[in-house]
Symmetry: C2
Subunit: 237 residues, 2 copies
């Protein structure tokens, strides 16, 4: 349960960046400063800082230091984080409408990923959610996962509408990595009503497979995203 030291440090710094103790363009304390202030080895501190680089919070510059990154105007939905966590940083005006509450039944036929027999036999927890950003419906998400002893998900309400937070709270399940595929598609009648756009308007369609720290448990999503007002952004390295 105890987090490793480097994650404690990176979480602490992340918190200070999000709350504005360190602002975009600021220099973080140098690695040797933190060595003294936190009484940690330099390698541990570097591991923490690399974590922040990977998540896009800072960039490092030889001879200068670690600089807090400008937050982007676009929605960084391609990253590994959930919708609420990503957008919560930018605006309080993020909401989720649960169209179909989590419930358990059979997996759909011709599912978009191939499943293990363990997953098929466990049955499928399914839910459908519509995400809003500043009053606009931005993303429609169908989520599927195997019911491997996860009945809390459909017997109780999701914590703040977030699947990831609920999985973490009830079962200590966290996301380890993601595969995704992106396509451009055209809105059919049903999608055009959902997003209040014209039939034939362009949408992104993303298939995702999330891997978790629990062996054999994966989460599958099909996402439609309206990029008319908000583009989807991402940074590498």
């Amino acid at each position: 349960m105890e987090l490793p030291l480097y994650l404690k440090l990176s979480n602490e710094l992340k918190y200070q960046i999000i709350t504005g103790d360190f602002k975009a363009g600021d220099l973080l304390p140098s690695e040797s400063d933190m060595r003294k202030s936190h009484n940690l080895n330099r390698a541990t501190i570097r591991q923490a800082l690399n974590e922040l680089v990977k998540e896009g919070y800072i960039s490092k510059h030889k001879g200068k230091g670690s600089i807090v990154t400008e937050r982007e105007a676009s929605l960084e939905l391609l990253s590994i984080k959930g919708f609420s966590e990503v957008l919560g940083k930018k605006s309080d005006d993020v909401s989720t409408q649960i169209i179909t509450h989590p419930h358990c039944n059979k997996w759909p036929e011709n599912f978009f990923y191939s499943l293990s027999t363990e997953e098929i036999e466990a049955g499928c927890i399914y839910m459908k959610r519509l995400r809003f950003y500043e009053q606009d419906s931005v993303m429609l998400e169908d989520t599927y996962l195997a019911d491997l002893g996860l009945s809390n998900l459909y017997e109780q309400d999701l914590i703040r509408g977030s699947l990831f937070q609920s999985l973490n709270f009830f079962y200590q399940i966290t996301i380890s990595n993601v595969e995704q595929e992106i396509k451009a598609v055209i809105a059919d009648t049903s999608l055009s009503k959902t997003f209040k756009i014209q039939k034939g308007a362009p949408l992104l369609h993303i298939y995702r497979k999330y891997f978790t720290n629990r062996n054999g448990l994966n989460i599958y999503s099909s996402l439609y995203i309206n990029t008319e007002k908000y583009r989807i952004g991402y940074k590498f390295q």
Copy 2:
């Protein structure tokens, strides 16, 4: 000019994966094996392996080892690499048609990124390329960069049609990171002719900004991608 040891090792392993010495699902030699065989410290080896994880070549598993990743069927164009490098792994049938050869003139008005005065004064090297994968036109790319002493780019042919390889060869310029934004759009008359698809068909539109190891030199791209046959894939972590 000399590469650090961890990059030499990661390049060596990458080469062995690409050429098939290690196949998808194979275990790489353990960290302590490589410590002996390459006479390197374990931290250096771990740095090399983390490089491969970041680029999606392997995944690491506590207690088991490092496993070579399955190569995806989708086109991993969201990654930092250039078109040729990414697709060259899957098929030899990758080609580039240069529609407008690199030449230098003024920057377009209302350019999609804001430019530094240094960039504006240097003028703009522009080129337009259409990329084919297995005979299908998949991607239309407009590329722009400031002419900061890069006249070799338009006075000679690009090396194998690749801008990145030419920059590397002539000027030792490499890409350090990328920002990009993705939108779904609809083919107009001109795009529908280019991709041989119907007017109104959906396309991805991506704006990219590549940062390089040369300070102040950035490369800007506007990409249209036809995802009808090939999806765009990416893995995280």
